[in-house]
Symmetry: C2
Subunit: 340 residues, 2 copies
Amino acid sequence: MKSHVRLLLASVLAFVAGVAFTQGVTQTDPLPSWNEGAAKKAIVEFVRATTDKTSSKFVPPEARIATFDQDGTLWVEHPMYTQVVYCLDHVPAVVKAKPELANMEPFRTVLSGDREAISKLSTDDLLKVLAATMTGMSVDQFKIEVKNWLATARDPRWKRHYTELTYLPMLELLTYLRANGYKTYIVTGGGQDFVRVYAQEVYGIPPEQVVGTAGGVKYSYDQDGKPFLTKEPKLLLNDNNAGKPEGIHLMIGRRPYAAFGNSTGDRQMLEYTKAGDGERLAILLLHDDAKREYAYGPALGLPDTKVGAFTEPLYDEAKKQGWVVISMKSDWNRIFTFDK
Amino acid sequence: MKSHVRLLLASVLAFVAGVAFTQGVTQTDPLPSWNEGAAKKAIVEFVRATTDKTSSKFVPPEARIATFDQDGTLWVEHPMYTQVVYCLDHVPAVVKAKPELANMEPFRTVLSGDREAISKLSTDDLLKVLAATMTGMSVDQFKIEVKNWLATARDPRWKRHYTELTYLPMLELLTYLRANGYKTYIVTGGGQDFVRVYAQEVYGIPPEQVVGTAGGVKYSYDQDGKPFLTKEPKLLLNDNNAGKPEGIHLMIGRRPYAAFGNSTGDRQMLEYTKAGDGERLAILLLHDDAKREYAYGPALGLPDTKVGAFTEPLYDEAKKQGWVVISMKSDWNRIFTFDK
């Protein structure tokens, strides 16, 4: 055999081995943190059916959109939304810039550090804190402040960075869906600009695939004539409840094939997704693991909870509408990357 | 040589030939409708520098965002925006559903068919026509109506479907940028929902990469409990002038590396793009070809035009800011696909 033929053959063999290796990898479990059970089975079967060209449920790659709520679906939302913690932590800096706020409510209560009083602040008061800490600065400045805070702040229970409190099974699911041609979006009631700061690094989701509660920005010029954008206290999209399908239409323009949520704020997104033609997957995550995470809502037989309101009626709707319910306790063998 | 070895060798040779063929294709001109000149050179050099890993101007693939105005940049905007033609054409259907409008202005004028009177309608009157023909129906119904109209309507000059009046050199440019890892977006003053109907088919741009003037939608249920979205007469984003960078922030969340426009409505998008760090490309298309398309704005020494206002001061700013100016007349050897 001539040497160039030998070389060609070697390439072929390497190529064939590569294919075999790739096939081997695809055959390993893409969802190792998920226990075998109805939830995992429903997900894997959905992916198989919608990506199999010979299936009547096949979905063309460009239409494969999957949307994920964030708080309580991709990461921990108890005892307080991470973004609210960020805003409360930023009150001292805001008061330093505007000292007259120190004696005004709700800033005085926040500055007192009295956790119980803070937890009793009204929604209106919290909105004042959010407006003061999330608007008025340039888009670039806000990004830097969030980045710096995430690099240092730690949650009170696990003493971990907040970005470590993401659910490993959901990270596996994001990767698995993307490997099967799904474009993954976050559709969050949280601030769009806030989540965009870390979504790429934490979830592998680029800023343009984060839909969230969004405020207006204002275009203007600095003293050197350089243009910049300022965050304005003007609400464009409240990305909760009916705002979720409305936001999906605004930002994506097509109906998802799969949607994942955990609270009443996700109800309409799940309904809207499930109501589409063909095969659709709607999934509700049940927080029923007080030991490894938290138990709230229907897991405790509670009608409602202040944070991440997942009510009994929602649980009933899930069963009625054929949504898949994930039990953190029984469906997940690991919750966090740092779990043994 | 055994037969399976022969088979393997044949595959290898086919593979090698394929590579050579692919390389041959890449070496052919990706912009054949562009004449050699400053504009083409600037574009090719920008793409080369931002995609060459050894270049100081290298841009990582995930940050490669290119934004295109539509009317007058990707397709013809004279003598009237296509979307306005659509709305005027839809007035009879609206009046049929609400006969009381027949004797009310501006609907009476539109129904008269008097082209001169129609062209003199005020902006307020046109907005009334737009609201009546673009809102009040479901998102799905609107999509069907636009699709049907595009399949039948023809422009008065070339007697072609409006979707044929796209500029071939710009279609080549979109393909060229995408082949080099750029994510291409439309950022249009036109209606987001309108452009999304045909953007994939006409420009290869999916709905989620169309940013435009956007109205609110309302989530509700039909009599069978099935959810749907209705287009509301509520403006969320006026995607013109400062609204373009503001819309880019809302919908994309990062600054483009390349932006393409043709009128004062694109000024802020071009400024914002060019003001970013590193290598940025801002391009202004000059309509100076009365024979093959239209000549207006600075090409005629006019201070302004009603449609696609491209003013002398904008032309001056382009030169001052280092924007590249494309002359349709000298830079393009073909304008439409149907040109010889």
